[in-house]
């Protein structure tokens, strides 16, 4: 029972606030809030806070950029050029904004994967996962809509390709395309719409969802390991964990500042640079080596791997269906993972997470033309690049498998194996990417079926 008498007598700011807004329960909640320790590596718990830190940096630098940016056919590109060349520290603000966007996406992806690997999405935290998933989609939306705003050639074609994908949506495709673009083609109307989305619609939605996400976490606390009923020990959120959070944010700020100052236009890797380049010109052809941002490279490469027609549909339509399916599975994982639902180890979903990472790694590397010495349409160079990327993916896969086997005693590698087999069949043997995928998935399905029939108890022995 709180001592209401002493609360009434409390002086100072807290007493003043308490007499007006009854803040004592909030302080009591924070005083008792604990972070579970001794079960996972503590580092996973900081990723959400780091992501939010980068979002705050985005908001501050975004507001500063708004003071000079002028959307318009004759002003968008020119205002960014003026900002980066004439305005004192304008280049720095833009560089921090760009780097922070990349770092935010990296920390968000790591946050989602760590949540998946630790099965923190299991009941009662399904909606925490879904709100986090929606925040992830909004972050990609931020990246995509912000890309067009400098109105340069790269922005123009990236937006043309990115928006054209929605044309494949059944029934609504053309309508969606026109609503997104403000017409049939990417024009200055598209920029106006993207500008509105980037600076008003998405931030409002993001803030609302973040509030919901944080509310869920505060109400339910952080997830315990699978099977654990209580945490072995805990750390006080205030001040111990919060101070560590702040310390990490300071470290992130230093990393961000270093990158922004020394690499103001990105690391110089195609798909990871933001030189202003030439102004958008709808009547100029796309230039060789044009690539989207690194986090869209896997989709870019997947679009390339689809033949013109498949199953009576156009290749891009089937590709969109596959991407929608993958994103759909990612969204509803808490409901698919029935073993985690019952608070039991679910090795298949841990393996699915690792397989997804390797699948994305191979596509991203090939999209980057690693090993081809830059973009090339020469068949021999493409095959050489696929070979190099396959070796890199296999090496990464081998490290992952050995690490999981030794560190976590995992024994379930069918999906990881399928992802690696697909990379090997495509990159080393030279068969088509899709056929390699079908063969790999079929073999994994057969292996899983055989395991279930021959060793029905094996799953129970698996961990995490």
């Amino acid at each position: 029972m709180p001592d209401t008498n002493s609360d009434e007598k409390r002086g100072g700011l807290r007493g003043w606030l308490d007499r007006r807004y009854q803040v004592t329960p909030l302080f009591e909640f924070l005083r008792h809030k604990e972070v579970p320790l001794g079960s996972h590596w503590m580092g996973w718990y900081y990723l959400g806070g780091i992501t939010m830190f980068f979002f705050v940096v985005q908001v501050i630098t975004g507001v500063l950029l708004l003071m000079y940016y002028q959307p318009g056919e004759a002003t968008a590109y020119e205002s960014i050029r003026f900002l980066t060349t004439k305005v004192p520290f304008g280049w720095l603000i833009r560089s921090v904004h760009s780097w922070s966007a990349h770092l935010m996406i990296i920390s968000l992806v790591l946050h989602m994967f760590s949540t998946m690997m630790l099965k923190a999405y299991r009941p009662p935290r399904e909606l925490t996962w879904v709100s986090g998933y929606l925040l992830f989609l909004l972050t990609l939306g931020f990246g995509f809509s912000g890309y067009l705003l400098p109105w340069n050639k790269l922005a123009y074609f990236a937006t043309t390709v990115g928006t054209n994908i929605v044309r494949s949506v059944p029934l609504l495709g053309n309508w969606l395309l026109e609503v997104m673009r403000g017409g049939q083609d990417v024009t200055i109307n598209t920029l106006y719409r993207f500008f509105a989305a980037h600076v008003v619609i998405l931030p409002l939605a993001f803030v609302g969802l973040i509030a919901m996400h944080l509310l869920f976490i505060q109400r339910q606390g952080m997830a315990l390991p699978v099977g654990a009923k209580t945490a072995p020990r805990g750390m006080k959120f205030f001040p111990s964990f919060a101070l560590r959070d702040v310390l990490l944010w300071m470290a992130c700020l230093m990393v961000l500042a270093t990158l922004a100052v020394f690499l103001p236009y990105g690391p110089g890797i195609p798909g990871m640079d933001w030189e202003l380049g030439q102004k958008a010109d709808p009547f100029a052809p796309a230039y060789p080596g044009i690539k989207p941002e690194w986090y869209f490279l896997w989709e870019y490469q997947l679009l390339k791997e689809f033949p013109p027609h498949l199953f009576g549909l156009e290749g891009p339509q089937v590709c969109l269906l596959l991407i929608a399916l993958l994103f759909g599975i990612w969204a509803i994982i808490p409901w698919l993972d029935r073993r985690a639902f019952r608070d039991k180890p679910s090795p298949a979903f841990s393996d699915l997470g690792w397989a997804a990472i390797l699948f994305l790694v191979y596509l991203t590397l090939t999209g980057w033309d690693i090993g081809a010495g830059g973009a090339s349409s020469d068949l021999a160079a493409i095959q050489h690049s696929a070979r190099v990327c396959a070796w890199w993916t296999l090496a990464a896969g081998a490290v992952v498998v050995v690490f999981r086997f030794l560190r976590y005693e995992h024994r379930w590698f069918f999906l990881t194996g399928a992802a690696l087999l697909q990379a090997a069949l495509h990159g080393l043997v030279g068969i088509s990417y899709l056929l390699a995928g079908v063969i790999s998935v079929a073999l994994a399905a057969v292996a899983i079926a055989i395991r279930r029939v021959l060793f029905p108890q094996a799953n129970e022995k698996d961990v995490t």
């Binding site: 054209n164 026109e178 009547f283 052809p285 796309a286 679009l303 390339k304 349409s377």
Partner: protein, 128 residues
């Protein structure tokens, strides 16, 4: 329900862009465009609101939609190989607009490019 429709419908209608207006019919290349064609062997011009590539292979003029049928990037012309190439996803088209390789699902739409007696070049839709 009616209340919801009365709110949502105007917003949906508002978001749908108005039909584009602008010059339609055949387009005559300007002096600048003609010199670009002479110099680069291709030029991209607006014809009835569409991006159209006019290219010169030998003595012959060809014209195609410059919008790749895969994801809508603007194609370029490679005179040495006599192909139109989309650098975005490596789609290639021959001088009839047919897909040679890569993921584009459809050929490029053909237009008509004609040299006039006065030396000017007029581009129009093929059916015209």
């Amino acid at each position: 329900m009616g209340w919801l429709v009365s709110i949502v419908y105007p917003i949906i209608r508002y978001l749908k862009p108005l039909p584009q207006t602008g010059p339609t019919g055949p387009t005559r290349l300007t002096r600048d465009e003609a010199s670009k064609l002479e110099q680069n062997k291709f030029v991209i011009v607006p014809v009835s609101g569409q991006r159209v590539m006019v290219l010169q292979s030998g003595d012959q003029l060809h014209a195609f939609s410059a919008k790749c049928t895969h994801e809508g990037c603007t194609v370029t012309f490679l005179p040495a190989q006599s192909v139109m190439w989309c650098p975005c996803h490596d789609g290639r088209f021959d001088l009839n607009g047919r897909v040679l390789s890569g993921p584009p699902p459809q050929p490029l739409t053909k237009y008509m490019a004609q040299r006039q007696p006065d030396g000017g070049i007029v581009v129009s839709q093929e059916s015209a």
